[in-house]
Amino acid sequence: MVENDRFGSLLAHLILILGVAAVVFPVYVAVIASTHAPGTFLQGVMPLLPGSHAIENYRTVIFEGRAQAGAPPIGLMLWNSFVMAMMIAVGKIAISLLSAFAIVYFRFRFRIFFFWVIFLTLMLPVEVRIVPTYAVVANLGLLNSYAGLSIPLIASATATFLFRQFFMTVPEEMLEAARVDGAGPMKFFKDILLPLSITNIAAMFVIMFIYGWNQYLWPLLVTNDERYYTVVMGIQRMVTGGDSEPLWHLVMATVVMAALPPILVILFMQRLFVKGLVETEK
């Protein structure tokens, strides 16, 4: 640790500020852009100060939508995104908890084999297996449904591993004490393991919710009914769809709206989230 080194401290701050600026600036531009009149963008000069059309732009996005630009009202898209993200987050956590529980606490045939199969799925994200997965979902008649949007994304090696690591740190005696206390496997899971995992579950929930919320390619593929459009793909449609020039001010307003829910989730779960990632205390 360097102490009282003014130059070092200055340099460190400079690098950090540059880094923050690089991340924040595009977000700032998006927010600014959402407050300007339709034509501003097409002039080729990006304004860096807020414009005067903020209320008007957001009202348009929220209440009217721009049907001619290929965008349904944002409320429905936000709802679809929310449902999909929730289903993915909750589904992933439920399945991962159970599979980690099985792998850590049960000795069954081919346990190691199944462990590696789960591990393999890490290397096969949706993008890689997208064609066969699409075929399966289509044959099951799940196109244009919430199930089709979320189920193929639910299996999660990452969360399974996180919970496995956590379960392995729970002392063996805890299980034995529970056995002596007359708790069967599922009772042990429900009464002991779940409450102990709560901070981990919160952390996983935040990560998985944002993962689900930001899904782009998959929703684009399995929905062609406006009723199931998610907000992320809605943005894409606003940019490429329609005959007119992209309505950048509205696109940017939608972007800002789309970024809000994940931010809210993080804000509300921040305490638990951080605790879950750093805490080792049992």
Binding site: E173, E176, A177, A178, R179, V180, A183, L196
Partner: protein, 348 residues
């Protein structure tokens, strides 16, 4: 309340490691049995077999009148106190105590009565609303005891319950455990590697070595008349001195009238003295290597002439001998323990 009978118990792990090989023991109702031995002697495995946490691969185990080999831990009517307490960290002390009873479907008022009673007995009534992490080591230990107590089991099983406590607290809890056990009269099986704990707690002491019983007896029986070289070395602190007969004969110091087959003589550090008593049977010459004052007593380490192995002598107070001084150690005949080194057994 129950009698526990182990009949030729065996434990072979899947890898072929034999942890327990043929242990038979009859524990009377209300008896406090302490299993003692070095690490890896199988004492914990044996306890866990009784608890039902390890499967029994051979022999039969009876608790009360039931053969419990195939029963789950919860159905064996036992309670266990774990070395690291294994309290449920997310539950309050009250819920920690009540959890097992709830699982058994004991009615609420009865649970409350038992928890309050146990809490009163262990002086943890003030902490019932706290979580384990807000408790000190000693309090956690009491909660762990309480969890066993509320079950009102046929037998208590203790797996080195005091090893995580500091020395002072350990002595205090040891006394409390013994008083509690006597008051409740519950059959108890207690595992420890601390021989002082073993000596003070036990009605009968079981010394284990290599998965087998070396000797069973009251603590004083084992102390006064250890049946094997192993027990002699394990029980008593500082450990018993072992002197080769060959060395004694060479020095002309061989005591008369030892049983045939004796080639090793044991003598406790307490039984050696620097002054010849009434009828010394053995006199050994050596030099003081180190003087170790330990308060009420002192340990003198003596190197015998022509023998590298140091001999420990325990004397009261602080003796007036300087390090490097030549001394003669005396021991009476009745203090000598004759052994045969080949069989490891006592010869008489």
């Amino acid at each position: 309340m129950a009698r526990i009978v182990m009949d030729d118990l065996h434990k072979v792990y899947p890898g072929g490691v034999k942890a327990v090989t043929g242990i038979s023991l009859d524990i009377a109702d209300g008896e406090m049995i302490v299993l003692v031995g070095p690490s890896g002697c199988g004492k914990s495995t044996l306890l866990r077999m009784v608890a039902g946490l390890e499967t029994i691969t051979g022999g039969t185990l009876t608790i009360g009148e039931r053969v419990v080999n195939q029963l789950e831990p919860a159905d064996r009517d036992i309670a266990m106190v774990f070395q690291n307490y294994a309290l449920y960290p997310h539950m309050t002390v009250y819920n920690n105590l009540a959890y097992g009873l709830r699982n058994k479907g004991v009615p609420k008022p009865e649970i409350d009565r038992r928890v309050q009673e146990a809490a009163g007995m262990l002086q943890i009534a003030d902490y019932l609303d706290r979580k384990p992490r807000a408790l000190s080591g000693g309090q956690r230990q009491r909660v762990a005891m309480g969890r066993a107590l509320v079950r009102e089991p046929a037998a208590f099983l203790f797996d080195e319950p005091l090893s995580n406590l500091d020395a002072k607290l350990r002595v205090q809890m040891r006394v409390e455990i013994r008083q509690l056990q006597k008051r409740l009269g519950t059959t108890s099986l207690y595992v420890t590697h601390d021989q002082l704990e073993a000596l003070t707690l036990a009605d009968r002491l079981v010394v284990l070595n290599g998965g087998q019983i070396e000797q069973v007896g009251t603590p004083m029986e084992l102390y006064r008349r250890p049946g094997t070289v192993f027990v002699a070395g394990f029980i008593g602190s500082p450990a018993m001195n072992m002197i080769d007969m060959a060395y004694l004969r060479d020095r002309g110091a061989a005591p008369p009238a030892l049983p045939a087959g004796t080639d090793l003589v044991g003598v406790r550090p307490d039984d050696l003295s620097l002054t010849p008593g009434e009828s010394p049977a053995m006199a050994l010459r050596g030099t003081v290597a180190l003087l170790e004052p330990a308060g009420a007593e002192s340990h003198i380490y003596v190197t015998l002439d022509g023998n590298a192995q140091p001999i420990t002598v325990r004397v009261p107070g602080l003796p007036e001998v300087a390090e490097g001084a030549a001394v003669v150690l005396h021991a009476p005949l009745e203090a000598l323990h004759p052994f045969n080194s080949a069989s490891g057994k006592r010869t008489g």
